[in-house]
Amino acid sequence: MRNLTFGLILTTIFAIGALVSFAWTPYDVTVLEIANKLKPPTAAHWFGTDHFGRDIFSMIMVGARTSIAVAIVAVVIGMGLGVPLGLAAAARKGSLLDEVIMRGNDLIFAFPSLLIAILITAIFGPSAVNAIIAIGIFNIPVFARLTRGAALSLWTRDYVLAARVAGKGATRISVEHILPNVANLLIVQGTIQFSLGILAEAALSYVGLGAQPPTPSWGRMLADAQTLIALAPHVALFPGFAILLTVLGLNLAGDGLRDVLDPKLRVLR
């Protein structure tokens, strides 16, 4: 319970920062003030300024937007495609469809998300959208496997048998009886994939395969900071802490949620 509270507080802080940044940031992140560059943290610039004199606190607020948006959409892609695939595979266990879906999953697992991103970038060029696609594709097998595994044990339950006797088809049973019972599990996994997505987005932006300038992103800020780290360590510290705390918050929230929902999960796992 303590984990959940602490995790939710951390996550909420960053979510609010991202939302507020749409309406207001302490400084405009697109205005360059070279005279003010690489200033350490002061009362005027809480987190200091970067090599263009931009306010790092404001950039972290706007960067949160990029990170959260990329990770959320990637989770939605993963769930949107993975869950139906997993449900279908479980409903037709052992069929050709099941086999094709599961082997397809194995194949995607063989391409770490970074390699998918490299391939996509090689084709379409780097952008935040391509980062979303790369992370999203990687999320599909995660949700498909999880859903199939959990759904398989549910298909042996009596209430599913009752639904079949009542004449419901596989699709209706999947949607009306299986899906609600795997929802908890999906929420917990969604939180974890969300945090992994934030880490992946940061890594992709860091090597230049994610969001492109002038869109601020935490990974890019760290890439820019790398050559300045001896000169102005604060430029590298704050974006890193932002990533660390967001991911930590999401992981703690995920663990907390799992504990809260545990009685049911233990049966399913």
Binding site: R103, D106, L107, F109, A110, F111, P112, L114, L115, I118, L119, I120, T121, A122, I123, S195, L199, A202, A203, Y206, V207, G208, G219, L222, A225, Q226, I229, A230, P233, A236, P239, G240, I243, L244, L245, V247, L248, N251, L252
Partner: protein
């Protein structure tokens, strides 16, 4: 066991073929003609056409795919468009940085995770367990490339124990190992955190099994029961994760190489993308995917060997 191995070998072959098709198809749809890219914007159309012919870009899709695959089977990955030398040679040179890096990181991961995980499981609920759980929670959340930068700041810039980047070559093995130390630690830390948690929970699961109670009832100490029985049975989930982690370490090495300016596969592939050196991108990505698929295959076989019950299932 043999039947199981053959069956897995079949699906291994299919995975490799599909993976090669996917990569080939991706590279085919990339806009931009490598021949005109190599010759620059002032090239004459007939020179471009001649180079296209020389590179074999005019052949049909199927012919090009087949020549790529059969070439790879015989160790010939083709000729790099930009370096004008055999891809296999260039990759071979770079592999001597990325592969040792991933392997050292894997070794570190296991060396850190096993004792820490076992300690946490045997002292469940103690302050040692709590600090392990707290520390690993942080280890999982920290972006490894940022951790790498922090280490550079501390150990290279402030303490001057290590150089901040670059690679001296294997002629001087000690210097080479030293150059790979910080990158390997950065790669290993998050993976070690994950593995320590898996080790802890797997061990907790097996320690609560009936056969452990039986062992204790027969007079074995907790320590003997742990080392002779529990640990061996906890290895299945741990092995799975180690297998998965190797692919993360290989891919992660690509990112960490950027922090330390190591001339490995990662830097090679990013340069190749910006220079439209398709054959290079294709080959490096396939090589990495190949490694991941092979490792998963090896892990599957290792399971079946450790646990005969798994041979029946596919």
């Amino acid at each position: 066991m043999l039947r199981y191995a053959l069956k897995r070998l079949g699906s291994l072959a299919i995975s490799l073929i599909v993976a090669s098709l996917v990569i080939f198809a991706c590279i085919e749809v990339i806009p931009g003609d490598p021949a005109s890219f190599m010759l620059g914007i002032n090239a004459q159309p007939d020179t471009v056409a001649a180079l296209r012919e020389e590179l074999g870009l005019n052949a049909s899709l199927a012919t090009r795919y087949l020549s790529w695959v059969t070439g790879m089977l015989s160790g010939d990955f083709g000729t790099s468009y930009t370096y004008r030398s055999p891809v296999a040679e260039i990759i071979g040179d770079r592999l001597w940085i990325s592969l040792p890096l991933a392997l050292i990181a894997l070794g570190l991961t296991v060396l850190i995770a096993f004792p820490v995980g076992i300690l946490a499981a045997t002292k469940r609920g103690s302050w040692a367990d709590m600090s392990v759980m707290g520390a690993t929670q942080l280890g999982i959340a920290i972006p490894n490339f940022w951790f790498a930068m922090l280490m550079v700041l501390l150990f290279s810039i402030n303490l001057r124990w290590f150089s901040a980047g670059g690679f001296p070559g294997w002629e001087n093995p000690l210097a080479a190992l030293k150059a790979l130390t910080l990158p390997a630690i950065a790669l290993a830390l998050p993976q070690a955190s994950i593995l320590a948690r898996v080790m802890r929970s797997a061990l907790l699961d097996t320690l609560s099994e009936d056969y452990i109670r039986t062992c204790r009832a027969k007079g074995l100490t907790q320590r003997q029961a742990l080392w002779r029985h529990a640990l061996r049975n906890a290895m299945i989930p741990v092995l799975t994760i180690i297998g998965l982690q190797f692919s993360f370490l290989l891919a992660g090495a690509i990112i960490i190489e950027n922090v330390f300016y190591l001339p490995g596969l990662g830097r090679l592939v990013f340069q190749a993308i910006s220079q439209r050196d398709l054959i290079m991108v294709e080959s490096v990505v396939f090589l990495l995917v190949f490694a991941v698929i092979m490792v998963n295959f090896a892990v599957d076989l290792a399971y079946a060997w450790v646990d005969p019950r798994l041979r029946g299932r596919s």
